[in-house]
Amino acid sequence: MRSYLLSRLLGMIPTLAVISVIIFVVIQLPPGDIVTSMLDRLQAQGVDTTEEYVQNLRAQYNLDKPMVLQYFYWAGNLLTGDMGYSHLYSRPVNDLLWERLGYTLSITVSALFFTWLVALPIGIYSAIRQYSIGDYILTTIALVGLATPPFLVALVFMHIGFDWFGVSTGGLFSPEYEDAPWSWARIADLLAHIWLPMIIIGLGSAAFTMRILRANLLDELNKPYVVTARAKGVGHAKLIIKYPVRIAINPFISTIGFVLPSLISGEAIVSLVMGLPTIGPLLLQALLNQDMFLAGSLLMWLAILTVVGILLSDILLAWIDPRIRFE
């Protein structure tokens, strides 16, 4: 187990390195760079700039160096925790990032738990009652859930909230807690708001996961080891949970690798629709305004979140399935 853990942890390093290269390339793609967009802004304000000033700026951001070197400066700064300066918000990226990252993390993680909480019982029910009316209804709902983009779900929910309850369902806090310092009351307020984005974001993944679990379980239900256990006298409920479900749950956990990126994608777009103070809206603003330091850091952090999440799911999988542990 320890060697497995170690190899997985070491395997993360090249993955993250490759990801950082991809992200660096992506943020370099737009025409112009941070200095040209700063100059544009200054010019719009009517400030004249000298050639020397421009050169200084470029040197300050290492833009006069070759591309490869620029990457290492950028990556090196990331490693030391310095993510640069957002000229869009005129603040260090670190300041902007941490709180929003926390919200992103809490929404994504709760959406993940929601996904499991919903998909597990429904998937099991649907498989052991295959072709029952309940199964048909649930698989149909899953089919629709899978086909509905998260932002559409968000719009529908907000519409329902507005129409039926007369409440605006956007945001993560009530107005009075928006800028308040952290307190138990603020946390309670957060919890009272977070469930809606959690459901909205988790719906598609729950549908996906439930379908996977149902299919897996249907495969397992008639395996010989289940018959053996039944012949041994294990009671029905315990039999289902201990034997086929336990095996069918493996791919279910490994799908976290698919589910987590899609949850993070969903979170980004749902946050935009619902006005949540997470990374998504910040990223869109950064991209639209070519604030590439900010965009790059945000992308990198989203990627890190995903990679760590997948690592955790791998560990969970190894812990649950001895076959992987003993490989």
């Binding site: 990801i19 992200i23 793609l29 983009p149 719009l155 991209l287």
Partner: protein, 381 residues
């Protein structure tokens, strides 16, 4: 034995004697036919593609035509009976009667039963250029001069939603196909290289797949499409977006192809082909590809929804396709505000089409996958 027993029974298309003679392709088709839901989805998609393909003809109006009498007007209903209860063989719609609500200052529409517009089929209306090839003014249905018909209502500029939905469908549905074609090319190429060559090539491709699958697609799509130059023409943006979508979409297919190649390499019939002297390209073309081409089709079908959803999401955010191009995502961009949905819920109709199309693709893909699997019994329900 009587005659009736000897005649083939329509219910069982594959008897044992027959199954030896029919081609694998036909077997897959027969199995697919038994998947009623998948079959229906296939037909639905075919219709949707035909209608979107001929949207100039099917729609009564163009995408920019405004009706100043109908701003944010609700969908019309088609009548056969008029207000007096008289039956009309030719269906008709009533004109809008607009009133401004004095409390909310919103326009409210009702049916003006004194003015009816009969629906004319294959009649002349607005002129258009079909596929940029020839000009015409014949529409599937329209009204007489002076009348108007808005089956899905209108938007805030008085543009006909029905027309816009199908023009949008042309873009959204085709971007999925273009993206998937690119995906297939990338997936087969890289997956095939990895699976057939093995070794370092395999490890590199595998790492690439691993890295790409653990990246959240949407934020990267966002970054890439934000990088598309503003001055690009709509056509360039269209292809740019499809390339971006397939850039991260090929991994699933590549993984499949790789796995198939790896297992097929060990199969005896591949070994046999090699032993009788077939060269590598021939082995791949003649023996390996055919044995999983149906899987590729199924996987590709299941990849289309991701493309459609991707385009919709990007355009919805305003960084994908932009007006004047009309796609389902662009149409949804107008519906971002819950207030818009509250006041004009019919602006959500493009979303409904997205859901229907994606659902149909998922069902179709599932059905194809089951049919392509020679050991599947799932189709036999």
């Amino acid at each position: 034995m009587s005659e009736a027993v000897l005649s083939p029974v329509a219910e069982t298309p594959v008897s044992r004697e027959e199954s030896a003679a029919i081609s694998p392709r036909r077997l897959i088709w027969l199995r697919f036919r038994r998947h009623r839901l998948a079959y229906a989805s296939g037909i639905f998609l075919l219709l949707l593609y035909i209608v979107s393909g001929f949207c100039e003809f099917v729609s009564p109006y163009g995408t920019t035509t405004r009706n100043d009498d109908a701003i944010n007007a609700p969908p019309m209903s088609v009548h056969f009976f008029d207000a007096e209860g008289n039956f009309h063989l030719r269906p008709f719609v009533y004109a809008y009667r607009m009133e401004v609500n004095e409390d909310t200052w919103m326009r409210e529409y009702s049916e003006d039963t004194t003015r009816m517009f009969p629906i004319r089929f294959f009649a002349r209306g607005e002129s258009y250029e079909m596929w940029n090839l020839f000009e015409s003014d014949v529409h599937l249905f329209t009204t007489d001069e002076g009348g108007y018909i808005h089956l899905f209502g209108t938007d805030q500029l008085g543009r006909d939603m029905f027309s816009r939905v199908f023009y949008g469908g042309r873009i959204s549905l085709s971007i999925g196909l273009v993206g998937v074609v690119l995906t297939i090319v990338l997936g087969i190429l890289l997956g095939g290289i990895a699976g057939y060559l093995g070794g370092i090539a395999d490890r590199v491709v595998n790492k690439a797949i691993e890295v790409l699958t653990c990246l959240p697609a949407l934020p990267l799509w966002m970054a890439l499409s934000a990088a598309l130059p503003v001055h690009w023409s709509p056509l360039l943006v269209y292809f740019g977006i499809s390339i971006i979508l397939s850039l991260f979409g090929w991994t699933g297919l590549a993984r499949q192809v790789r796995g198939r190649f790896l297992s097929l390499r060990e199969e005896e019939f591949v070994m046999a082909a090699r032993l009788i002297g077939a060269d590598t390209p021939r082995v791949i073309r003649k023996h390996m590809l055919p044995s999983f081409s149906s899987h590729i089709i199924a996987t590709a079908t299941l990849a289309v929804p991701g493309m459609i959803l991707g385009e919709t999401a990007l355009s919805f955010l305003g960084i994908g396709l932009r007006p004047p191009v009309v796609s389902w995502g662009v149409l949804m961009f107008q519906a971002q505000n819950p207030l818009v949905i509250e006041m004009t819920p019919w602006q959500m109709l493009p979303g409904l089409f997205v859901v229907l199309a994606v659902m149909a693709f998922n069902l179709l893909g599932d059905g194809l996958r089951d049919a392509a699997d020679p050991y599947s019994t799932a189709g036999a329900k």
